[in-house]
């Protein structure tokens, strides 16, 4: 095996990427070829030295220039008062999918426990009269889902712009489908507010829309 072929594999050896057979071949060659051995030792040394390179301090003027720019952009502001911090809740920009997922999980737990008691297959007896409390719970769950959807919608719009057009089109079609279906469920809820199956489908529709938005936000921008 000629030296050139052996040397071409030195980097792979240094990075532990060689199969055993190749490792053996190279080791054998290095034992008999002082020139390749020198090259190998040099590369090993370069690798080790590069890893040990120290950090470098920038000149002091960098911070001055940076802070001036930040003031000009309004990034540096006067501190907010305690009450300003307490009441400045912004779901729109600060809810990320992970946080949204946590909120949705809580909602689902609440909604599921509501639905289990109202839609249990082992409890065929269902009250005919409307239950104001149940309706309020459904409306609360709806409101939380709507906030989650609002929070995810902007991120998903931005993500869609980075996706392959064919993929973005599929997502958009599915979003349109979900919106149409949600509209149907809401209409059914107005027409038949006492029907727990309608409540179930309405909340499921919201849940599926949230899941779809999360899928979009988390998809790779291929």
């Amino acid at each position: 095996m000629i030296c050139r072929e052996i040397q071409d594999r030195f980097s792979a050896r240094i990075d532990h990427e060689l199969a055993q057979v190749e490792e053996f071949e190279i080791r054998q060659h290095l034992e008999v070829c002082p020139f390749c051995s020198t090259v190998y030792q040099d590369l090993l040394y370069i690798r080790k030295s590069a890893k040990e390179l120290e950090l470098v301090s920038p000149p002091d003027r960098l911070w001055k220039s940076l802070s001036a720019q930040m003031k000009a952009e309004g990034l540096i502001r006067k501190p907010r008062s305690f009450w300003e911090r307490v009441f400045a809740v912004d779901f729109g920009s600060s809810l990320k999918p992970a946080l949204t997922g946590a909120i949705v999980t809580l909602i689902l737990v609440a909604a599921s426990s509501f639905l289990v008691t109202k839609f249990s297959h082992r409890q065929p007896e269902m009250p005919a009269s409307s239950d104001a409390q149940v309706l309020q719970e459904v409306r609360d769950a709806e409101s939380h889902y709507q906030k989650a959807i609002e929070a995810l919608s902007e991120s998903s719009r931005e993500r869609l712009e980075t996706l392959d057009p064919a993929v973005a089109e599929i997502f958009n079609d599915n979003l349109a489908t979900m919106d149409y279906y949600l509209k149907e469920c809401k209409e059914a809820a107005l027409t038949d507010p006492d029907n727990p199956l309608v409540h179930h489908y309405l909340l499921t529709a919201y849940q599926k829309k949230v899941e779809l938005l999360e899928t979009i936000v988390n998809s790779d921008s291929l």
Binding site: H121, P124, D192, L212
Partner: protein
């Protein structure tokens, strides 16, 4: 040969001669890569693709073999073997290129007891005779699964899903794709769709639980009148029809009828399996096979 025939032959010859120059250039053959990974018992294969067909079939060898066909130089097939886990993924170099240039077909042979995790956006997926845990996540790629045993969790946005001659725990979820379940011997099946239809053709195992739910689509269950099932079917705006002899339980109706039946609770034979069917506005059909 007459002059006329000779002229005719000459014309044909000239046409053929010219056609050789104006015919489309021979397209460059696609690149085919073969990768083989020796594995131990119950290996895991994780495959991520963007577009193209994926076929996984079982064989008797203690290795996973992947035949990858690239259709352009814009893609690379990356692979990594860590312990008994094999990672295969399509790496698209120019992410702004058209879909055709991101296409890679995978033909994979793996031991029967392999576990699979397959993700792809477009193309199609076929799984044949795998007994481990199988997870499939696709966007718009039709999925066909044959003779699997073990655990299957298959999800798609737009595409059709067919699961045939299989056993074990089965979960199938789509947004708008149809779900077709045929000749299954499973005792635990969940199929959910938003817009798609769900069709089940087969028997129900004693003690089994089957849950089919779609919002706008139609649920069709084809079974013999010897099936031993406790039926629970509900719909908001659809209707329920059946020609099976089902002994109805007395139960409180879900709501006023829009048309047809809105709920059906009953038993066929001794009710050994539980089948729950629900739709929002799609029909529910329970049909004698």
């Amino acid at each position: 040969m007459t002059l006329r025939n000779e002229l005719h032959l000459a014309k044909v010859g000239i046409c053929l001669f010219l056609a050789a120059f104006v015919s489309p250039p021979i397209t460059r053959a696609s690149d085919r890569i073969e990768k083989v990974f020796p594995v131990l018992k119950s290996p895991t294969l994780m495959l991520t693709n963007y577009s193209g067909s994926i076929m996984v079939k079982s064989w008797q060898n203690a290795e996973i073999k992947a035949l990858c066909t690239k259709y352009s130089q814009n893609v690379e097939v990356d692979s990594e073997s860590v312990g008994n886990k094999i990672h295969l993924s399509t790496h698209v170099l120019d992410k702004l290129a058209i879909e055709e240039k991101a296409k890679v077909d995978y033909q994979i042979f793996a031991p029967e007891e392999s576990n699979l995790e397959i993700r792809t956006n477009l193309g199609n997926v076929v799984i044949d005779r795998i007994r481990g845990e199988v997870r499939i996540d696709v966007m718009a790629a039709p999925v066909r699964v044959f003779q699997i045993e073990g655990y299957l969790d298959a999800r798609s946005l737009n595409s059709k899903m067919e699961i045939i001659d299989s056993k074990g725990i089965i979960r199938a979820t789509t947004v708008s794709g149809d779900i077709i379940l045929s000749r299954l011997s499973s005792n635990n099946i969940t199929a959910q769709s938003t817009l798609g239809n769900i069709s089940y053709e087969g028997d129900f195992s004693s003690g089994g639980k089957y849950n089919f739910s779609t919002n706008e689509g139609v649920i069709s269950v084809f079974c013999s009148d010897r099936a031993s099932v406790e039926w629970e079917a509900r719909t908001v705006k659809g209707g329920i029809e059946t020609n099976l002899p089902i002994k109805s339980k007395s139960h409180y109706p879900v709501s006023r009828s829009y048309f047809g039946k809105q709920s059906l609770m009953g038993t066929s034979n001794s009710g050994e399996a539980t089948v729950q069917l629900s739709t929002f506005s799609g029909r529910i059909r329970i049909i004698r096979k």
